[in-house]
Amino acid sequence: MKTLLDRTLTEHIRALEAREYSSLELTRAYLDRIEEIDSEIGAYLFVNTDEALKQAVASDLRRRRGDTRSILDGIPYGAKDNLCTKGIPTTCGSRYLEHYVPPYSATVIERLAAAGCVFLGKLNMDEFAMGSTTEHSAFHPTKNPHDPTCSPGGSSGGSAAALAANEAVFTLGSDTGGSIRQPASHCGAVGIKPTYGSVSRYGLCAFASSLEQIGPLTRTVSENATILSFLQGQDPRDATSRSAPVDSREHTIALHTLRIGLPRELFSKDIAPEVRSRALDAAHMLEKLGALVEEVSLPSLTYAAPTYYILSAAEASSNLARMDGVRFGRRAEGVRDPEALYCRTRSEGFGEEVKRRILLGTFFLSRDRYDEYYKKAFRAKLLIQAEMTSCFANCHLLLSPTAFTSAPQLGIRESDPAAIHRRDLCTVPANLAGIPALTVPFGKDCCGLPIGVQLMGPLWSEPLLYKVGEELERIRAKEWGGR
């Protein structure tokens, strides 16, 4: 028999409406679960116990009065710790912001509060979202609930692990180069990097502003679509945010007329055979249902990993310049001049990976290197965008593996940092092109670890990605009983 925590978002919505249980009971069940298991998993950095219980009581009161705010009223969720939450610590996984309590909330947090959601707490992450294992959190690593000797991925590792360990109904993450999709893939969750500009980033601690988006992680595809619909929309406080064109919401293509491209460059021989097989299985099964599947080539993706690294490091060095010990966050003690204050505060507050990226970003932007690196990378980004646009003139979406492997073991220290960045190849193209990308769990490897399959589509094609993603879920349920 299903326990309260095994239920899907849709089931919770129905049960709350039917008064089968209250938001307070549901919230208590999740807080109890966090209390029971999180010392082992380490998904949360802050648990909002008292306030969450108050919010649940208020939600139940609204329901009794018949003035619920939305279908999500009373649903408990958690958010990555780089989303500002008024009055609640927001650390970005960094010692620099260890005691920082923001005076305002991110737009996405406000939107979910307006919808009546109950806020459970802040989730662990690689420091300032720089990393892919959550081992770069300054506080503690997070473990993968499917195998605690493995990483949940990153940087939104806490968001993915909390979901897999039943510590929230849904979670929010941010994705600069795959930071929602890769951990979702490693933890058996559904995760989306929405179209650039579709979700306001006001209140998201900026890492690489031209690339990142906020998105939901959920257990099922339809839940993901529901949560995203509450997050999307233009926000005057984020000048890059836009509302989806009206016609894209009604955009539907029948499966038997669907054309799916398999980008040759994203089926590299460096990808684990089991992971590659799952993506090919997904393509063949969609083909059996009538879709036209063909191999496509996007030669510019050869440059995607270095392009991403140059642009993201350059933007990080600029965005993190504000962390100088003056207006908020940490301040080094006993310093008598401003230059030493900036330098010592930053050197004491930032971890190794953040320092490395700031240093490299400074290098790429320096006068002597700008043309050789930054300018070239910027042009490569335009080339990737142009090539993907013309590719989508011939196919409706692209299918590929999400990550190179299933969840890696914790504690493995790679000697070559460039090798780590090459493994972001499948996820970074969507960030560079600004297009939406969805990962859906599709089977497991020989050790029982989840494997995700990625769907990418043109700008504002989220409805189509969700539709095909649901089809993959149905296939998975039929083939492997939902594994």
């Binding site: 005076p103 050869t302 392009t307 908020f328 401003p338 070239k376 990378a377 080339l383 460039a418 960045h421």
Partner: protein
């Protein structure tokens, strides 16, 4: 490829300081990553003709609500008399102006 790197200058520009041990480890990493990043220099010529679409992302210059000074000061690491305090930027002058 050997990278001509003025590490102390780079660290100064990034406003970071490193021990000798950290510097030597980072130098190796920087070489490897710079080599990896240099792959973009092989970009085909067609990329040179591409231009970013001009999108104006500036919002109207209009007075709106903002955070209260109290909230901002509460988040500051040090403040006094309603102002954020920082170490002295100018050295104190000990000369007698007369």
């Amino acid at each position: 490829m050997e990278l001509n790197l003025d590490f102390p200058k780079l660290a100064r520009l990034a406003q970071l300081s490193f021990s000798q041990e950290e510097e030597s480890a980072l130098r190796k990493d920087l070489m490897r990553i710079a080599d990896f990043a240099r792959e973009v220099s092989e970009l085909p010529d067609e990329a040179n003709s591409l231009r970013a679409e001009g999108i104006c992302l500036l919002r109207e210059d209009r007075v709106g609500s903002c955070l209260s000074p109290c909230d901002i000061l509460a988040a500051a690491p040090a403040h006094e008399k309603g102002m954020i305090t920082v170490p002295s930027v100018m050295e104190d002058s000990h000369e007698d102006p007369s």
